[in-house]
């Protein structure tokens, strides 16, 4: 059997089987889900040949499934992270109710994403897209909490995205008479100058999943409301489906049109205007996500907002349309999948062991959950973009692309503001969960089970490797970029370059850090080991007073109060409010139409009479 069919068959069968077994035990159900996803990934990474495809026809429509280098890049994220997350999920969902339904949808989401990656035509793309959306909707409302507020918001935005995508697909079929993605691209469907609506409609459709401003408002609630073992996939992999689509569209708008034939001034201008708009939307998304992340008291919500911010960077990179910029975006997409997956796993582990993710309720878990803390620390360093981990590589390329290639000097400042402010919530996350006073309430907490720790540590190790040898990821990215229309994409294993010829050598950096670290740590530890004494967190100097055991010295509430005060004007506007106002306005409009369509037969009869009278009165002017 063809491996495309086989992979999807395994996933769908796994979904059904884990649903059936959910009645027996959550662990068995979870194991089946894990095994099916792991088997599918094994097949994906070993059996699939790059560039191969199959064609078949369904209901008179020619469908084509295949794999290209661009899809393969996202396949790495989806199936790699999917396998680890489903392994993690077994312990996380242990002893929870209705796990059958949860795992059914869990595997379906993975299957939907794999299908999206395989789809070479718009019809199957759309079908798999909807499978993914609906399955994820059911997981979001799995807990039964906030169904009305969060579930409906997610549904509405997804529906808007789906309809605009569907409209675009129909328009492509109508204009270019093809459902095949590559044919549509080659005949210029994404050419912004020829056809303004198709790219914009598609961008709206993908922008919803990628949580780009102003379509991001569903994301924080949905990320937070889903069980954490799914949020790993939701934020780490599913948002990348939006990136996949946006990259496809934007890559072709900007690479083909800007470097290609200049048609006239207006077309050039409109392309640049669109590009600037998308870039600034990405930048504003990053700032909004960051500002709201740093006022959250809940660790999971904090990460949800942070995801929005990170996706903003990716949008900016994609919209630059330059080699370095798109490479930065795709690199950030992969690295974000890794570190945000790891961070949500950390939150899930804390939630399972300590019972809550509210940072005002727990603190000082570092000595109780050392491996979880280690993962959190490494992931946070990557998230903040501090050298020498993978996050820094992506950030560096993004900045250099904006400064050297796309001349967006003020956007750089916006991005820089956002990523400097990201240090604030990064610290909040680590401090809130792991540092600070060790309170009596958390004394019983133990390290998470090994099936949760192992996936986390694997992701942490991956972050270290991507920091030292980013070339491992550049290789598939370069191929993917050649697929979306770039030529001669060059990369090095450990050296970054910009177009001005400046270099950043990660090997020297790594060696320096290792040497200094080793010597100083040896100096501090070996020489001072005998003289070092551990003391508890109550044994501190509080201006000469000795704190009692029951004295509360935890500092968690209003953590960044001074910053929030300084940045108060930026918190005044909220996209949520604007959408609510739009909703209220629409409601008023619908109320008005209710006055016309009253549902009363008498009124309709009156309309008919009025219409006839008008017709009679105006017959001379209308029908000459």
């Amino acid at each position: 059997m063809n491996s495309f069919f086989l992979i999807l068959l395994i996933l769908f069968a796994g979904a059904g089987l884990s649903f059936a077994l959910g009645k027996i035990s959550s662990i068995i159900s979870g194991t089946v889900a894990f095994l099916s996803i792991a088997a599918a990934s094994a097949l994906f990474f070993t059996q699939i040949e790059m560039g191969s495809f199959i064609e078949f026809s369904l209901g008179g429509i020619q469908l084509q499934w295949g794999i290209n280098s661009y899809g393969y890049l996202f396949g790495i994220i989806v199936l790699g992270l999917g396998t680890l997350a489903s392994l993690y999920s077994i312990s996380y969902m242990q002893n929870k109710e209705r796990t059958g339904g949860f795992y059914f949808n869990y595997v379906l989401v993975i299957a939907g994403m794999t299908g999206i990656i395989f789809s070479n035509d718009f019809v199957s793309f759309f079908i798999f897209w909807e499978i993914m959306t609906w399955a994820s909707y059911l997981i979001i409302i799995y807990s039964g909490k906030n169904v009305k507020k969060i579930g409906i918001k997610y549904m509405i935005f997804s529906a808007v995205g789906a309809y605009s995508m569907l409209t675009a697909i129909v328009m492509i079929k109508g204009t270019y008479d093809t459902f095949l993605i590559s044919e549509a691209i080659n005949s210029g469907a994404f050419n912004f100058v020829d056809n303004i609506y198709i790219p914009i409609l598609l961008l709206i459709g993908f922008g919803v999943k990628a949580a780009t401003m102003p379509l991001h408002v569903w994301a924080p609630g949905a990320y937070n409301n889903a069980p954490t073992s799914f949020t790993v996939i939701f934020s780490g992999a599913m948002s990348k489906m939006g990136v996949l689509g946006m990259g496809l569209v934007l890559g072709h708008i900007f690479t083909v049109d800007r470097s290609g034939n200049l048609i006239n001034f207006f077309s050039q201008f409109s392309v640049i205007a669109l590009q600037q708009t998308i870039m600034w939307l990405g930048g504003i998304t990053a700032v909004i996500g960051t500002l709201y992340a740093l006022i959250q008291d809940d660790a999971k919500k904090l990460l949800a907002y942070s995801s929005i911010a990170q996706l903003g960077y990716i949008t900016v990179g994609l919209a630059t349309g330059t080699k370095l910029g798109v490479m930065a975006a795709l690199f950030l997409a992969v690295v974000h999948g890794i570190f945000k997956g790891a961070l949500f796993m950390v939150v899930g582990a804390v939630e399972r062991q300590a019972g809550t993710t509210d940072m005002t309720k727990i603190s000082g878990l570092i000595r109780k959950m050392p491996y979880t803390f280690l993962t959190a620390l490494i992931s946070i360093i990557a998230l903040a973009g501090i050298p020498p981990l993978g996050g820094f590589v992506g950030k560096w390329m993004l900045y250099e692309a904006l400064i050297t290639e796309s001349n967006s000097y003020f956007l750089v400042i916006v991005i820089f503001f956002s990523s400097t402010a990201a240090f604030l919530y990064s610290y909040r996350f680590l401090f809130g969960l792991f540092l600070g006073q060790e309170e009596k309430e958390t004394e019983h907490v133990k390290e998470a089970p090994i099936t949760m720790v192992i996936p986390m540590l694997i992701l942490a190790v991956l972050l270290v490797i991507t920091g030292a040898f980013p070339g491992l990821i550049f290789a598939p990215i370069a191929q993917a970029m050649e697929f979306i229309g770039f030529k001669d994409v060059t990369w090095n294993m450990s050296v970054l370059n910009n177009v001005w010829g400046n270099e950043m050598n990660l090997t020297y950096l790594g060696i320096t850090i290792a040497v200094v670290f080793a010597s100083i740590f040896a100096f501090l530890t070996l020489k001072g080991l005998k003289g070092t004494r551990y003391i508890g967190t109550k044994d501190i100097s509080t201006s000469g007073e000795i704190p009692y055991d029951n004295e509360n010295l935890t500092f968690q509430i209003d953590f960044f109060q001074p910053f929030v005060r300084a940045a108060a004007p930026m918190y005044k506007r909220s996209m949520d409010k604007i959408w609510n106002e739009l909703g209220n306005g629409l409601e008023a409009l619908f109320n008005f139409t209710r006055k016309i369509y009253t549902g009363n037969g008498q009124t309709y009869a009156l309309f008919v009479v009025v219409f006839l009278v008008l017709l009679l009165l105006l017959k001379d002017t209308l029908f000459i």
Binding site: E400, V412, F417, F431, N502, L509, F521, L524, T537, P562
Partner: protein, 312 residues
């Protein structure tokens, strides 16, 4: 092999130089501040005595792993950044790794030490430490904006992100960056006020308010190592400013020329260092939000002007 030997000796010399200069400047400032406040003040080499005392403590107390690691992190960051900073212009002894990193990297690497410090301070469980850290991070978001604007202005004016290139161009044309783009220099100078954390921006340590903030739980060897890291960082920041805006220092190759070059470097860095110190003597302390707002006001406006100046 001989080449490698020179490199290693050069790297060690750089560290010794940075450490000595940083510590001495700290001592001089202590003395000067005391004289301004009509006190006698400690001797100029008091910092070295303090360090000697701290390092000879027999027992150290730590609040856990991160507390133990914090000083190491600071030293790592200081040492690594130092390797990527050009000390003298066109000299054989101090190039280190300056060709292998650039400004964006330095911006981020300089945060590395603060992060370690913040984590170490966080684990001690002292609320004052955590409050100090949140203040420090908030203030950083403040002063980084004008600073980055100034750096972006430099980069686009000379079409390079490498410090070496910026220094070389200044040496070639003979015009210091502070004259060819004065607005960038002013914006960066304002940012340096926050960077050095003298009054009115001493909100992180905040004597008599936070009891020295993040540092309050560190003593003995830990404090000593932190002091060393801090001194090296002071030297790094000053040298970076001199390299970027004041044409760097350097007198050519050769032993005598190197000594003269170092002399020029000391002259320039010291005069630059006096700006935040002087400003500190005459200022009371800001509240955190006032400090942030300060940086987002005129300094940022100057930075924006600098970027526009650099574009045209």
């Amino acid at each position: 092999m001989e080449d490698l030997g020179i490199k290693i000796i050069g790297a060690l010399l750089t560290v010794v130089l940075a450490f000595t200069v940083g510590m001495t400047y700290g001592g001089i400032v202590r003395k000067l501040t005391a004289r301004v406040q009509n006190r006698r003040g400690p001797v100029v080499w008091q910092n070295f005595l303090d360090l000697l005392k701290l390092q000879s403590k027999k027992t150290n107390v730590a609040h856990g792993f991160m507390g133990h690691m914090a000083p190491v992190w600071i030293i790592i960051a200081a040492g690594t950044v130092l390797m990527f900073i050009p000390i003298l212009n066109g000299d054989l002894w101090f190039p280190n790794l300056t060709f292998h990193g650039d400004l964006i990297f330095l911006l981020y690497m300089m945060v590395f030490g603060s992060l370690g410090m913040a984590l170490g301070a966080g684990q001690t469980g002292n609320p004052n430490s955590a409050i100090g850290v949140t203040r420090g991070l908030s203030q950083m978001v403040g002063f980084e904006i004008p600073f980055v604007l100034a750096l972006v202005a430099l980069m686009i004016q000379y079409k390079t992100t490498s410090i070496q290139d910026i220094m070389a161009i200044q040496a070639e044309t003979g015009v210091w960056m502070m004259f060819s783009n004065p607005f960038a220099f002013l914006a960066a100078l304002f940012a340096s006020l926050g960077m050095f954390r003298y009054s009115p921006f001493d909100i992180v340590g905040a004597p008599a308010e936070l009891a020295s903030g993040p540092m309050s739980e560190f003593g003995g060897k830990y404090l000593g190592t932190m002091m060393t890291g801090g001194s090296i960082f002071a030297f790094i920041k000053l040298t970076l400013y001199v390299d970027l805006f004041m044409g760097g220092a350097g007198f050519g190759t050769g032993f005598i020329a190197t000594i003269i070059g170092l002399g020029i470097l000391l002259l320039k860095t010291f005069s630059l260092y006096m700006v935040p110190v002087f400003y500190g003597w005459i200022s009371p302390r800001y509240r955190t939000e006032q400090a942030i707002r300060y940086f987002w006001g005129w300094p940022t406006a100057l930075g924006v002007i600098a970027v526009i100046w650099a574009i045209f």
